[in-house]
Symmetry: C2
Subunit: 270 residues, 2 copies
């Protein structure tokens, strides 16, 4: 396993700036987000990354499959699949979406996710891209992601061939789960991405920005990382931080801190 910089960690950076920051820090992989990719254009973006010799560990993100306009959501996800293929990454992270407006029917929302994944999986397979279902911390269940545990995401993924649908293990989302180590073991080769950031307290006013640098909070990264390694995962480890102070800091300073924190708290030891 080795460090990848998820672009979100330096949220203000353009793709070119993020690529340059990785190169300067000796980071070999990057997790790309669709918005900064769109800013530069998919072809130019893909060339930027390729010319820098970087691997793309994942594209973030597709998903949002629970809304009322199914066709529009599927179209948007097909575009995301195409972009992942253009970038040369086999992993498209899916944030599946929360309850539709006005609805309290969680079971129905979860069915929409299953339906959407089924509609997209063949298209993704044809493009050589794997849909990576990201279970989200229950704090986001209502408005962002109705897949709430790794077991639940895995149950859905297992309906499809392993090459078509996998899961994301993101420490922030799963660390509290009493079944997390068992679920990681069960996931095995379904683990399409491993992302790390910390659970911090107090929660900031915007709970989306509660995802701190490893070491700033409560998560035991070594234990989770060892479980991911035992499950057979050998891919990149994306540091993906959502935090106002981190986002406000100079890019190189953040990336340097990411390298340091990864070595200190995350990287496999011994």
């Amino acid at each position: 396993m080795s460090l990848s910089l998820n672009q979100k960690t330096i949220n203000r950076a353009s793709l070119a700036e993020a690529v340059d920051a990785c190169a300067r820090a000796g980071i070999e992989a990057i997790g790309v987000w669709r918005e900064p990719l769109a800013d530069v254009g998919v072809e130019r973006g893909a060339k930027l990354v390729r010319d820098a010799g970087l691997r793309v560990s994942s594209l973030c993100r597709g998903g949002f499959l629970t809304g009322d306009d199914r066709d529009a959501a599927l179209d948007e996800n097909r575009r995301a699949i195409d972009e992942a293929a253009a970038l040369g990454t086999s992993t498209l992270v899916l944030v599946v979406g929360g309850l539709p407006p006005g609805s309290r029917d969680l079971a129905a929302a979860r069915e929409r996710v299953a339906d959407g994944v089924a509609a997209l999986a063949p298209y993704a397979a044809a493009a050589g891209v794997r849909l990576a279902l990201e279970p989200m911390h229950p704090i986001y269940c209502a408005d962002r992601g109705v897949l709430s545990t790794l077991d639940q995401a895995l149950d859905l993924a297992l309906r499809f061939p392993a090459a078509q649908v996998g899961v994301v293990v993101d420490t922030f989302h799963v660390w509290w789960d009493p079944r997390v180590e068992a679920a990681i073991a069960r996931a095995g080769d379904r683990i399409a991405a491993y992302q790390v950031c910390d659970w911090i307290l107090p929660l900031p006013p915007d709970a989306l920005l509660a995802r701190g640098l490893p070491g700033d909070g409560y998560i035991d990264f070594r234990t989770l990382g060892a479980a991911v390694a035992r499950a057979g995962y050998r891919g990149d480890v994306e540091v993906e931080v959502f935090h106002a102070d981190v986002w406000a800091a100079p890019f190189d300073q953040v990336v340097s801190e990411v390298v340091h924190r990864y070595a200190e708290h995350v990287a496999p030891t011994g």
Copy 2:
């Protein structure tokens, strides 16, 4: 099932004021908190409730078993058990505690909970009180409750006789869980308390105060309530709201709204 007012919903009220508000609204049961009980004294408090003809649906709360001073925590819980017995309730709600200061060892914190419950169960049994383990929403895992799912709380409860240790089903804490209905069915006669409040967004700056009146948020109370009824629960339904605006409002106005919301969103239909 019938409505009980958990005292926390009118957080500024003294026990006497809460009892009077229940009487005026025709509510037959109350969930008492230890702090306002201590303000008036246990004996006088018990007499207040008894003289008003109210049932005490639960005493909130014991727990906090994960800290470094085990003996002090057990002593405090024995006092809480005595208070529950004095109030004539068989249910002491336990909020088990978060990670100890400076620790990231969630498994060890959970072991401390199991150890503490084992130490307290015989004492509770002798007093005719059942320890009611409350699984908490994962948003509170780090700082408040390391039991994170109903299944997990139930796994611990099942190590003890049913009369000694049960579980709390609180909609706020469990609504997101993909296994919640199965876990409620599995809980059966282990369900010692059923508490309702809503998950609201945006989360307020203090996430402790994110627990709204039923109907203000995203939770489907009918589905959860039906599962609790199918499991055989016939006890009181506590409306327990933590919300700054609710706490600031006049007591009778809040209690009247609670009665209305209970009928509209929570009470079994048909």
